[in-house]
């Protein structure tokens, strides 16, 4: 007896690829971009990979099951795979130049304060880039995209206490790198 196929509402005529992409990007694009950017050397690469995430998501939309995970969790899992794939094949660049931080959001009122903030961010990200890949990943998820540890646990398929433990250990290692 044939197995009935349940139509996925995301593949309905009311959700063409363009609309789906726009909807997901508006809700989660900034978070995905910032998460990727946290671990990438330039805005250009972050834009490339962000595009890959959403184009992959649209192509795989019929496999998305909202009963199993939220769109955000699903998109971040795709982003994680895209990032891992990229980092596996690219040489790492711990050096973060100030010129590469043009996409950094800053609320500092003066140019001098904005420059100081850029310098501080470059220092922090250069230190993050020296950590083991698992530390970079958990720091990127937690801080790159404003996810709380519960969200991070869902994306990584871990329990929340385990995420907290891993995060604090990663921060401990980061602090040692930053220590004068």
């Amino acid at each position: 007896m044939p197995i009935p196929v349940r139509a996925n509402p995301l593949r309905s005529a009311t959700a063409p690829p363009e609309g789906l992409c726009r909807e997901w990007y508006e809700s989660h694009g900034a978070g995905i971009y910032s998460y990727l950017r946290f671990q990438l050397p330039s805005a250009a690469v972050a834009e490339d990979l962000t595009a890959d995430v959403f184009l992959r998501a649209v192509r795989a939309a019929d496999r998305f099951d909202p009963n199993r995970a939220s769109a955000r969790t699903w998109l971040f899992r795709i982003a994680r795979n895209v990032l891992r794939d990229y980092l596996r094949h690219e040489r790492r660049h711990p050096h973060v130049s100030l010129g590469a931080l043009d996409d950094l959001r800053s609320q500092a009122p003066s140019p001098e304060e904005r420059l100081l903030w850029k310098e501080e961010v470059a220092r922090l990200l250069a230190a993050v880039a020296t950590l083991p890949a698992s530390d970079q990943e958990i720091i990127g998820l937690r801080y790159g995209s404003e996810l709380d540890t519960g969200d991070v646990a869902q994306i990584l398929g871990l329990r929340e206490p385990a995420v907290r433990t891993r995060l604090w250990r990663a921060l401990g290692r980061l602090r040692r790198v930053l220590a004068p």
Partner: protein, 199 residues
């Protein structure tokens, strides 16, 4: 309220304050790419080493030359038409670029246009914002309100890989003063050194 232990409060606060923003028009550009059915780049698979690939390419090239067959004719110009992005700063992703180039080498002609008829390529009803020949140059038009827009990365020169960027300088919402392409170098350490000269 921070959930970090006391020891990490300062570090936690600093990291939480870091936020990056994609370009404002990036969402519209992505939606356009999805509408065109553009595929993401395929995941890279571990393959044979570079030395092995280089050896194979040399052997194949040598064999082809020995047989008197041209491998690929790369001297013929190709025409690439990419639409639709926000290239004039007007806010709508309705602009395109048509490039006639020697494959993976120099640009011979380039148009930036507004896709008025929704055909997604350069056609008679469209408004041409910039038309140039082989060398990029900045058209006259004053410097007030200049913006630079960058679109990366696609194949803008027919070379094959999506490794070219497009740089457009203009005055919103509808003036385009310069457009050029560049090739991104994947292994450059930062954006300042990540591309070749403008073409």
């Amino acid at each position: 309220m921070s959930e970090a232990p006391e020891d990490f409060r300062d570090l936690d606060r600093s990291l939480r304050a870091i936020r990056f923003e994609p370009p404002a028009s990036f969402g519209a550009e992505l939606a356009g790419r999805a509408a065109r059915g553009e595929a993401p780049r395929p995941p890279r698979r571990p393959g044979p080493g570079r030395a092995l690939l280089a050896t194979a390419a040399l052997v194949a090239g040598g064999a082809a030359v020995a047989l008197g067959r041209p491998i690929i004719s790369r001297s013929l110009p190709v025409t690439i038409d990419r639409c639709c992005y926000d290239l004039d700063g007007g806010g709508a992703a309705d602009d395109g670029v048509r490039i006639v180039a020697k494959r993976d080498a120099e640009v011979r002609r380039l148009w930036v246009y507004e896709d008025r008829d929704g055909s997604r390529d350069l056609s008679p009803p469209d408004v041409v914002r910039l038309r140039r020949g082989a060398a990029p140059s900045l058209a006259e038009g004053g410097s007030a309100g200049l913006i630079a827009l960058r679109r990366c990365c696609l194949d803008f020169d027919g070379g094959g890989p999506d490794d070219d960027g497009l740089l457009v300088i203009g005055v919103p919402p509808d003036r385009v003063l310069m457009a050029a392409i560049y090739e991104r170098r994947a292994r450059a350490p930062d954006a300042a050194h990540s591309h070749s000269r403008l073409r």
